[in-house]
């Protein structure tokens, strides 16, 4: 039904159906956005089971707060923001713990661009999941989501310096993991 309509009309109908509490519309919305949002959840989560929990929480928030969507920006962007906030809330304690870890001096592991290109995206996702929660969150927010250090510091309640150092150490650890994988 929705495929024969223009995207905006289909989206509007979908939103209205969800607002009316129709389960079929809610399922269509879930099936449309779940694959994209699940990757986001996987990036912020340490394990796959945590990603599933975040996905559930995120969709519950989406359906419960759908009436607050004004239609100013893109609907996908609005949903994405909810999932990022849900992920941060889920790991808030773990994130704060890892910000205060003692860290040793950093050396550039020197990863070749070709090694990164040859890496499957699922493996890259796996390496990101292996990062400590604090590193992982700042890396995701800065590199993938495109947040500035000022925005990250405000969002996580940390200083800009902490955000920068966390990003540098996240990069270093990720490069080390990629290099180790490439050498095998």
């Amino acid at each position: 039904m929705l495929t024969y309509l223009s995207p905006s009309t289909a989206e509007d109908q979908l939103i209205q159906g969800c607002l009316d509490g129709r389960r079929s519309y809610q399922k269509v919305l879930y099936e449309h956005f779940a694959p994209k949002m699940f990757v986001i959840c996987q990036r912020y989560a340490g394990r796959s089971s945590q990603a599933e929990d975040i996905l559930q929480e995120g969709f519950i928030k989406v359906f419960n707060n759908l009436h607050l969507y004004r239609g100013d920006g893109s609907f996908e962007g609005w949903i994405k923001r909810i999932f990022i906030n849900t992920s941060i809330e889920y790991h808030r304690k773990a994130i704060r713990k890892h910000f205060y870890q003692e860290l040793g001096p950093l050396q550039d592991p020197g990863v070749e661009a070709k090694a990164l290109q040859n890496l499957a995206w699922c493996d890259l996702l796996d390496f990101i999941q292996q990062l400590p929660a604090g590193y992982r969150t700042v890396f995701n927010l800065y590199v993938i989501e495109g947040f500035s250090h000022a925005e990250i510091s405000e969002l996580l309640g940390i200083s800009c310096g902490t955000s920068k150092s966390q990003l540098a150490r996240a990069r270093y650890m990720l490069q080390s993991l990629i290099k180790a994988n490439n050498n095998q």
């Binding site: 509490g21 399922k27 779940a34 699940f38 519950i60 359906f63 990164l116 800065y142 590199v143 990720l174």
Partner: protein, 173 residues
């Protein structure tokens, strides 16, 4: 403005726009936690106070508020189900008779006993009397107690050992 890091750009390029299907059971779990359809919710909101009132009435034992019959006690129900509830009429009559005899033996008759003359009157004459007197008299006259009635009336505690022995000898073991 710092130039974009090539490593970061490569990572972003690798992960941007990727999709991964979550487990199919996820939707079931989400749908269970979602609020009900507005119509169902309205119905639930309407029925909830009624259900609460009924629960409260049941709790307070206000049976007369509800069209519910008071359940019989468990013991009575069990008895009714275990028997056909056919009264043993002869046993009941017997019991009534014993009760009457006991009452009569305790309470002395208020009516005057028949005089010697009355006792010696021929039966034919007595039959000719008005019916207002004779039934009263016959009703209040002590009935002849059978041996089974005697057994009931004998206060065993007041009997001496000899009397008891005699009684046993007379009645048999």
């Amino acid at each position: 403005m710092t130039p974009p890091n090539p490593f970061d750009q490569q990572i972003k390029k690798q992960l941007d726009g990727r999709e991964m299907n979550p487990p199919s059971a996820n939707w079931d779990r989400i749908s269970k936690r979602l609020p009900l359809h507005p119509l169902l919710r309205r119905l639930a909101l309407t029925l909830a106070p009624i259900a609460a009132l009924m629960a409260f009435a049941v709790m307070m034992n206000w049976w007369y508020l509800l069209p519910i019959k008071t359940p019989k006690p468990m013991a009575q129900q069990a008895y009714l189900s275990s028997t056909d509830f056919v009264l043993d009429v002869s046993a009941q009559e017997e019991e009534e008779r014993i009760k009457q005899l006991l009452q009569e033996s305790r309470e002395p008759s208020s009516l005057p006993l028949p005089t010697a003359e009355q006792m010696h009157e021929p039966q034919e004459k007595r039959r000719g009397e008005s019916p207002s007197n004779s039934p009263q008299l016959t009703q209040n006259q002590p009935k002849a107690a059978s041996t089974s009635d005697l057994r009931i009336h004998i206060p065993l505690k007041l009997m001496s050992d000899d009397e008891l022995q005699q009684l046993l000898q007379r009645e048999g073991p």
